[in-house]
């Protein structure tokens, strides 16, 4: 602090005070410059994530039926949640969601693991194969859905044709019209579309396992299955858990494929929660109840989200 050397800056004009370029330049020299860079994403995240989430929550405590304006939009407390407890469709949807998510993910994990193990052998051509295997993951859901709807079509379906030829089927079958096969067929389509996600993540994990472990296991006489069970799977635990959590969230969230393939039918045999919430809003125009269904889904998923945040160790760095 040298008192004699203080020089006063020229007084600011009004334009200087509000000139955005000057303000940014000035702010960029303070400790808080990084907040400026965060502004665009902060605005967007508020507009499309935070505000809608909070709005959806308060919606679930209100009467909100777009086709019954006479009912108003007053608070109804826990009415929607109480209705849910005795709503058989809700429980069917919950059960279907569980079946849909667990079987699709189990299948995706199994195929994904086998494909990753095979690709990791670095056989000739495995790079090309890796690209080919990855490719369908990038097919839009809509295309995957319509393509399979065509292939499983009861009249021209390729799949029916093949199954009849190899003798597994007596005649052509309308897979999506039969309540007992609709869900299974949809699960196959979903597994087809998304197993590369597991392949990719597991492949990344496999590259990180020290090869010494396998050499030691070879010397100890452990066979391929013992190696898989005792080395590979335990070493991949974190990556598998992360992949499973992300897929659970993705699957619970996205009704696209089921919307295209079955719209929840026949009957309620493929009705899942996300689809039910969507139909409650856009077919029955009951936004309050749809909001409550979404909140229940949100809470279920936040459990998984929390697990993922813990796994990815954001709170440790």
């Amino acid at each position: 602090m040298v008192e004699a050397r203080i020089s006063y800056p020229p007084p600011l004009t009004l334009w200087d005070r509000i000139n955005p370029v000057r303000m940014i330049g000035e702010l960029s020299e303070t400790r808080y410059w990084m907040y400026l860079l965060l502004i665009p994403s902060a605005l967007l995240i508020t507009a499309v994530v935070i505000y809608p989430t909070l709005y959806g929550m308060q919606m679930s405590f209100r009467e909100m039926r777009l086709n019954r304006p006479d009912l108003g939009t007053g608070w109804v407390g826990l009415k929607h949640y109480q209705r849910m407890l005795t709503d058989p469709i809700f429980w069917v949807s919950l059960r279907n969601t569980a079946v849909w998510v667990t079987s699709a993910i189990a299948l995706e994990f199994l195929i994904g693991l086998i494909a990753a193990l095979a690709l990791n052998r670095n056989l000739p051509g495995s790079k090309v194969l890796a690209v080919l295997i990855l490719l369908p993951y990038f097919l839009p859901n809509v295309v995957a859905g319509h393509m399979w709807a065509l292939m499983l079509d009861p009249r021209l379906g390729v799949i029916n044709d093949l199954l009849v030829k190899i003798g597994w089927l007596e005649g052509y079958k309308a897979w999506f019209a039969d309540p007992s096969t609709a869900m299974a067929a949809a699960i196959v389509v979903e597994a087809w579309h998304s197993f590369p996600f597991f392949t990719l993540l597991i492949l990344a994990g496999l590259k990180g396992i020290p090869s010494d472990l396998y050499k030691a296991a070879d010397i100890d006489g452990a066979g391929p299955f013992a190696q898989l069970r005792l080395i590979t799977l335990p070493m991949l635990k974190t990556i598998i858990a992360a992949a499973v959590i992300l897929r659970v969230i993705g699957l619970v969230n996205s009704p696209d494929l089921l919307l295209i393939l079955t719209s929840g039918g026949p009957g309620r045999s493929t009705q899942v929660l996300s689809l039910y919430a969507f139909q409650t809003a856009y077919k029955d125009f009951n936004f309050g109840y749809a909001g409550a269904l979404s909140v229940v889904m949100f809470i279920l998923l936040m459990g998984f989200a929390w697990a993922y945040v813990r796994l990815s160790k954001v709170n440790e760095d």
Partner: protein, 295 residues
């Protein structure tokens, strides 16, 4: 790369590996092959001939004309719409992601951990839970059924923030930045002159992923758009299918949209994705792997 090399002879292990890969390729290749072949065939050929019979040029040309001229060139409108949504959405997501990822990687500040956690939560927020409120929000702002509305709703890509953050935290040249700082560059010059030129690969990666998400976007577009002049291609394709009854095996009607036209429309949706993926697969794979290893 793995250091485990199998001996070059036929053993059961190698056989299993090849069988698995062959199965995986069939599992994917056959459906895709079928899709592309089916686009060249006529309706009656689809119904009567073997699944992989090749069509001819005439029926392909007829299908193409039927599809493009249907309803006053509707499919071309949808294609243009899709392009508008993609360009707007990708730009918006880049504007949001790249600076934010840089800020998170280049500095320590109060609330940084909170921002990271929020980003992760946003990555996994159930879209179905927010889609109804977003619909009402856009209504309120007068943006429902506008290009801007869907661009706004689909333009945030939290995974991009995370990717950029991971990329910058390993690749920023601290030494160069410190000396530039001493030479009098302000923080934003550091960002625009040093960090941005370095960030080309990550910009491409974020743009690729958000292109993919927005081009394939079905659910959000389906919910937010009710005017069929504003549909994007995925919603348009579905409207085409349900509107023409092409897949429902009802007695024939006089709508010229039959199965071959639907297949061709599906190819139209998927072709840009395939082309861009082929062009970009190298950096996409390495980028995704680095993201996977980090997270």
């Amino acid at each position: 790369m793995s250091t485990r090399t199998a001996p070059m002879r036929i053993n059961p292990g190698r056989f299993v590996v090849f069988a698995t890969l062959a199965f995986a390729v069939c599992f994917y290749g056959i459906p895709l092959l079928w899709l592309f072949i089916a686009g060249t065939r006529s309706e009656s050929s689809l119904l009567t001939q073997s699944p992989f019979a090749l069509g001819d040029w005439d029926s392909f040309a007829r299908t193409w004309t039927n599809l493009t001229t249907y309803n006053n060139f509707q499919i071309l409108t949808w294609t243009v719409n899709s392009l508008i949504y993609v360009v707007g959405g990708v730009l918006l997501s880049l504007i949001a992601c790249i600076p934010a990822g840089y800020a998170l990687a280049a500095s320590e500040f109060p609330g940084r951990r909170l921002v990271l956690i929020f980003t992760l939560i946003a990555m996994i927020t159930p879209s179905t839970a927010v889609v109804l409120p977003i619909f009402l929000e856009l209504n309120m702002l007068g943006l429902s059924n506008t290009y801007a509305g869907l661009i706004l709703a689909s333009g945030f890509f939290p995974f991009g923030v995370y990717l950029t953050y991971v990329y910058f935290s390993t690749s920023l040249p601290k030494g160069v930045m410190d000396s530039a700082r001493v030479d009098g560059a302000n923080r934003f010059q550091l960002f625009s002159r040093i960090a941005l030129p370095l960030a080309r690969p990550i910009i491409a990666l974020v743009a690729f992923f958000s292109f993919l998400g927005i081009w394939s976007n079905y659910f959000l577009a389906f919910v937010l758009l009710s005017d069929d002049k504003l549909y994007n291609l995925p919603v348009g394709l579905t409207a085409l299918v349900s509107g023409s009854g092409a897949l429902s095996n009802l007695p024939s009607n006089d709508v010229p949209i039959k199965k071959p036209e639907v297949v061709l429309a599906a190819i139209l949706v998927v072709l840009p994705v395939l082309l861009i993926f082929m062009a970009a697969q190298r950096f996409v794979r390495s980028g995704m792997l680095s993201g996977a290893e980090k997270g």
